[in-house]
Symmetry: C2
Subunit: 358 residues, 2 copies
Amino acid sequence: MSLSRRFLILAEGSFGPLSSKTANACIRYIPDEVAAVLDSTSANAVVQDVLGFGGNIPIVATFADGMRYRPNALLIGIAPAGGQFPDAWRPIVLEALRAGLHVWSGLHTMLGDDPEFAALAAASGATIRDLRRAPPDLEVASGRVRDLNATVVLTVGTDCNIGKMTAQLQVQSSVGQLGHRVNFAATGQTGILVEGRGLAVDAVIADFVAGAAEALTIEAAEGADIVLVEGQGSLIHPAYSGVTLGLMHGALPHAMVLCAQPSRTTIHRNPWVPIPPLSDMIRLYEATMDALRPAPVIAIALNTFDLDDRAARAAIERVRLETGLPTTDPVRYEPLIIAEAIAAFHMERVSGAVDGMA
Amino acid sequence: MSLSRRFLILAEGSFGPLSSKTANACIRYIPDEVAAVLDSTSANAVVQDVLGFGGNIPIVATFADGMRYRPNALLIGIAPAGGQFPDAWRPIVLEALRAGLHVWSGLHTMLGDDPEFAALAAASGATIRDLRRAPPDLEVASGRVRDLNATVVLTVGTDCNIGKMTAQLQVQSSVGQLGHRVNFAATGQTGILVEGRGLAVDAVIADFVAGAAEALTIEAAEGADIVLVEGQGSLIHPAYSGVTLGLMHGALPHAMVLCAQPSRTTIHRNPWVPIPPLSDMIRLYEATMDALRPAPVIAIALNTFDLDDRAARAAIERVRLETGLPTTDPVRYEPLIIAEAIAAFHMERVSGAVDGMA
């Protein structure tokens, strides 16, 4: 299926490095499947101009312009807070369905349940794929994830929207190059889109978040020595911290990689919450795991996209000294430093030197 | 509406001090609305014999026997892990609806969505009330709960099913007697049943747990100096910790009351998770609040139902010395100790001595 996808990505009014997370991840990881980006406020540029990567993928001002690049699917590429479907996008989705395009969405609003969309899709033979739709057979977590032999590594963050998924995807191939069988467990709509499977843990009924995380970690561990679980939110995010902790306690990582953005001082869209020093964040993450499975933070992934090279390198060095942990920006520089920390932890653990088999 | 309720409580096979939480809370707080309890394995006893409270409320073996006590509603009084509806109860619910009884349920399974139940209810004029049904207009949390003047106090626990709701309900009238306007914010199906309003935060989509907690705290603060928010789960519960943290960060309590059961050493249904010392639990709860709103644990509520009087008093004294905090079993002994701690905290806070207005 993924070979045949060719997306027109809807990012109207919001295409940018921090404001169109789903769009940006597709452009970074599955660029061959991106036909064009629809944002009238950035049109006449190419993606590279806006994101600093993505090359010559065109940005178009209208749906009709986008159709010239022969997409076969419309992807909702931005996620408003709360994940609801803005009425302003309804005409574009209707236009896409009338043109026979499939529609992919990671919103909380289930587009497939909209009677008008469903009727149009049925008429044209298009499918509406809601990436956040929860499977019907979820169970509460039971701790059965402890039976896995694989080493489970979770990314955690000082904030949401800071690079937890990207860090894992960047590190994944380096861990493989070090000779380990490694799988990625997608926990959000964007990761699912890129990986082709997974489960959006923020979209399940709250009592089942940990159960969902447990189930998908077990699924991803099949045939793997190391499972890289995509993190969500932050333990100090006022809206999403519950998802973060449920994911932690369901996946039961053996180790964590902390993601941070040096230039960010307060929580995304919540300036009333200052982000504490990284050493405090490390202590908090480790403390909330202690009673279930002690799991150290073993590396730091920094997101330095908004710093110049000199400032980025200085920030990395400062954090490395503050935390005493391997630190890099795995997108901008070499992700191998983090991959090596994960591989070393895994080797110690399987040799019994780390008490992580419990 | 509540004056006219007369419940036959379904607790088949599970009526007991720890196994029928919803049933027990109704019997304790709204006994006049309980006609009988249905459990063939305890029949021929009265409620007092099984719970140690509840007086002469009869326990019956069959639905037909229960009808002799003229109920007008069937209440699902037990909650299996996961909150799904067991098929074995279907005949009883069908029988109740055919007899014209209303059906009240706190399960995750929405009984009102069952076509067979819905058709029978429509035919008989009965209503099906799903206490956990989430309102359709939830938003993500924004921190607007910080605008409240009321002092918000949340119960937290070493485990689920340990007495967090009961502690709040026991303390509520004592706080009132101390001269404060106090409201109870129900966050689970049982609290909603007792209080007549509230919102089941464990039954909303995970991204909206904190938003739901925020909304209901604001609603409960109307006309109150002090809001007692019903806690859920535990920060170390492997299945439900996400609900706990979402509730904490949505309600943003100024202070917390920690609930524990001295005889319990591991998490309910999860013997692989040992419960740490109370001082560690206090530190963990306070640490997870720090970045958003520092909130001290100001009292300890112990659940000593399974200890004799001497052992219960010894446990209370031991915890009081360990934590240095006011400690009691607010069900078995005088809840005033905890009410006084809450009132003193509130008075200090409004006089500006506690930095809790931020």
